[in-house]
């Protein structure tokens, strides 16, 4: 089944076609979400939302772009929304705590995501340091950087996905790397890990 047939099938509610699409693109979508949210369980939940959106809104697919472009767009948008909502939630929680009084903080700490419990502390700290640095990147830099580093996409394809010029992609990734380098070097000098 080629892409057009696959989409046609999904538009007609064909579950088999949908399953093939999911199997073909599951790795790609989960990996993209992971590059933004840095937690495997969250990335898989988000990837499921992405495929549900595809199934329910298949009629919106015009066929001008590749399926992967469409999937990348939804995956990055949903992941960024997820981060935004989390930040908002944390903000309201901190307000709530200020006014209502501190809740059990130990609970929150134990809920910090750790996908690989056998990783030694230095690896975990190093990972946290990098995720914190990536978290601070502006959304566009973060999207371009993730697509380039996690999915190893060429700049031209990133430009299509983000609907921006090739020069903009180059500039976004360059600035993202500069920013990350600055934060990591700062961390090194201040011995933050």
């Amino acid at each position: 089944m080629d892409e057009t047939q696959l989409i046609k099938g999904i538009q007609q509610g064909d579950r088999k076609a949908f399953q093939i699409l999911v199997e073909n693109y599951q790795r790609m979508v989960v990996n993209t979400c992971l590059g933004i949210v840095h937690n495997k369980a969250d990335a898989e939940d988000l990837a499921q939302d992405v495929f549900l959106e595809i199934f329910r809104n298949a009629e919106n697919f015009r066929g001008e772009a590749k399926i992967s472009t469409w999937l990348y767009r939804i995956a990055t948008n949903r992941s960024l929304n997820f981060i935004r909502n989390n930040k908002r939630k944390r903000f309201f929680q901190s307000i709530e705590e200020t006014f209502i009084g501190g809740r059990n903080r130990t609970n929150e700490i134990s809920e910090t995501p750790t996908d690989q419990p056998d990783r030694n502390i230095t690896d975990q700290q190093r990972a946290d340091m990098l995720y914190r640095a990536i978290d601070k990147l502006p959304e566009k830099q973060r999207t371009a950087f993730t697509l380039n580093k996690y999915e190893e996409l060429p700049y031209q394809q990133i430009a299509e996905i983000m609907d921006i010029s090739l020069a903009s992609v180059e500039s976004l990734i360059h600035r993202a790397k500069k920013n990350l380098q600055e934060q990591l070097l700062d961390c090194y000098k201040k011995k933050c890990v």
Partner: protein, 141 residues
């Protein structure tokens, strides 16, 4: 000075994105400078986190869970969209009520003070001008 010049480009050196000339300059400096070498290793280890994290093993029950969710109606989503709209609306309303209440209380409270000598008022305003509001608030903490 030279260290900074080198350190600004280490990430591009790692990604092999430097011009041949620049790369040679960086490599020559790295040979001589232990500080920049250890910084390079730190940066490399940091960026290596991505290589370790990406492309995780696929979950076996991904499609099973997904097809179970296909049966659900997208009711929850509609509900959460409502919540998303409601939350900022409630907070904005509280903010408006707060500002309005504050203005009301403020205007009531300031009336009797008008009878006091005008110089006191001016003195207070001048104090506010010289003292930024942040330090004013912090001093009281």
């Amino acid at each position: 000075m030279k260290h900074d010049y080198i350190q600004n480009d280490l990430i591009f050196y790692l990604d092999n994105e430097l011009s041949v000339e620049k790369k040679m300059v960086v490599e020559k400096h790295l040979e001589e400078c232990a500080d920049c070498r250890s910084l390079l290793v730190f940066l490399q280890d940091g960026m290596q986190v991505i290589e370790k994290e990406k492309d995780p093993e696929a979950s076996h029950f991904f499609y099973t869970r997904l097809s179970a969710r296909l049966e659900e109606k997208p009711k929850f989503q509609a509900q959460s969209q409502w919540l998303q709209l409601l939350q900022p609306a409630v907070f904005s309303l509280l903010l408006v009520i707060g500002i309005y209440g504050g203005l009301k209380i403020g205007s009531n409270a300031s009336f009797p003070k008008l009878n006091q000598p005008a110089t006191i008022g001016i003195q207070m305003l001048n104090d506010f001008e010289t003292e930024p509001i942040e330090s004013f608030l912090l001093d009281k903490l």
